[in-house]
């Protein structure tokens, strides 16, 4: 996925995806991040998986 240049951390990536404040699980290169690690830098070669919890049914 292409992201704008200003997306440099997990936090800014979540904002870019409209997921700020949502309950998510973020995996960076196979490792699940804690919330306090969302300032981690994102590189273009990283593999990032994000899952958001939704309530509908």
């Amino acid at each position: 996925m292409e992201v704008p240049d200003h997306v440099k951390t997990i936090e800014s990536l979540l904002i870019h995806l409209g997921l700020q404040g949502k309950i998510v699980v973020v995996e960076q290169n196979g490792v699940i991040l804690k919330k306090e690690d969302y300032s981690a830098v994102v590189k273009s070669t990283d593999s990032i998986e994000i899952v958001t919890f939704v309530g509908g049914g």
Binding site: V51, T52, F53, G55, G56, G57
Partner: protein, 339 residues
């Protein structure tokens, strides 16, 4: 005569032995909306022994696009979903014992389901899911989280004390429940995709092939052609108040109080008495008739109109007030007619 389960028995991971196990199992489905109807139909066709369905709502036009058990006739009759589901499911497979409960589920109601083999989550809110999670972990019942909105779906299979529980994964109930079907819509393929994942996991549990379970948290977006799986095993917390070393089951032990809830995105307020009280529908109808418009009833509920508000009274004492999100206004109407 060909056995109705012959194709399922030919499937080597089930076989005749698996089919016998499926037949002995009791499954609870919480919620009989889109996920609930589709899950229920698969379980009943698969030949489980007993199915219990709990739902607090009635069938509405906006349900028919994806809630596969219901028909226009159910809308005309204002049938509660659990009742309409039971009627349809009994036509599909009369060998399955089906119990329908028209009620909001709280901890006291859940206690009746301690002996079920599996719980399928088909609710539309996190409050009920956290309650289910506490209950399932406490009584060691596997349960399968499933949810969807738009073209996005998510599911996870929770085995108490083996996998992380929902409380480990989410930590808190999201304040506004996230986006719901009523605000961004939902398409039927999203529902059936979540159900496919829930039901294949259910079959594995019912035939006791737990080795085959998926183990990852799975999410997908059908419109964007995306799918994600994350191994969340590391998120299991020994400090979790539900499945950790010193559990308090915080959501299960909450006291039952008169509960007023705005149903997200539906312009509806639900008011539930602290203790369910059986309403005499005929007597209520007689008393209300001179004061309200468009009064109708069936054996399960009464509905009528007061100005802009459509009001539904269920037999268990619950009231839905449509046409408002204002709790104060809804309570006023409630006490005016039912106080």
């Amino acid at each position: 005569m060909t056995n109705r389960y012959s194709r399922q028995e030919l499937f080597s991971f089930i076989g005749q032995v698996g089919q016998k196990k499926i037949r002995q199992k009791h499954v609870l489905i919480v919620g009989a909306g889109a996920l609930g109807s589709s899950n229920a139909e698969i379980l009943v066709r698969a030949g489980i022994g007993k199915l219990s369905i709990v739902d607090r709502d009635y069938v509405d036009w906006s349900n028919l696009q994806r809630q596969q058990l219901y028909s226009e006739e159910d809308v005309f009759q204002h049938l509660p979903k659990a009742v309409a589901a039971k009627q349809r499911l009994e036509k599909i497979n009369r060998d399955v014992l089906i119990e329908a409960f028209v009620q909001d589920i709280s901890s006291s109601e859940l206690l009746a389901f301690q002996d079920v083999d599996l719980i399928i989550d088909a609710t539309d809110n996190f409050e009920t899911r956290f309650l289910l999670n506490d209950f399932a972990v406490k009584y060691e019942i596997p349960w399968i989280y499933g949810a969807c909105v738009g073209s996005y779906g998510i599911t996870y299979t929770i085995l108490p004390h083996e996998t992380p529980c929902l409380h480990c994964l989410m930590e808190i109930i999201p304040l506004f429940g996230g986006t719901t079907c009523d605000t961004v819509g939902i398409i039927a393929p999203t529902v059936t995709q979540v159900v496919s994942h829930q039901m294949v996991e259910a079959l594995k549990i019912l035939v006791e092939d737990c080795e085959a379970l998926r183990k990852e948290l799975l999410a997908f977006d059908l419109w964007k052609n995306e799918q994600t799986k994350i191994n969340v095993k590391g998120l299991k917390k020994s400090t979790c108040l539900t499945c950790g070393l010193n559990p308090t089951y915080p959501y299960l032990t909450k006291e039952s109080i008169t509960k007023v809830a705005v149903l997200c995105g539906r312009n509806t307020v639900q008011i539930r008495p602290a203790k369910p009280k059986l309403v005499n529908i005929i007597e209520f109808e007689k008393n209300l008739a001179p004061h309200v418009q468009h009064l109708k009833s069936n054996p399960y509920l009464i509905h009528f109109q007061v100005n802009q508000n459509q009001i539904i009274l269920f037999r268990d004492g619950r009231v839905l007030i449509h046409g408002t999100n204002d709790i104060v206004e809804a309570k006023k109407i409630y006490y005016q007619y039912f106080g």
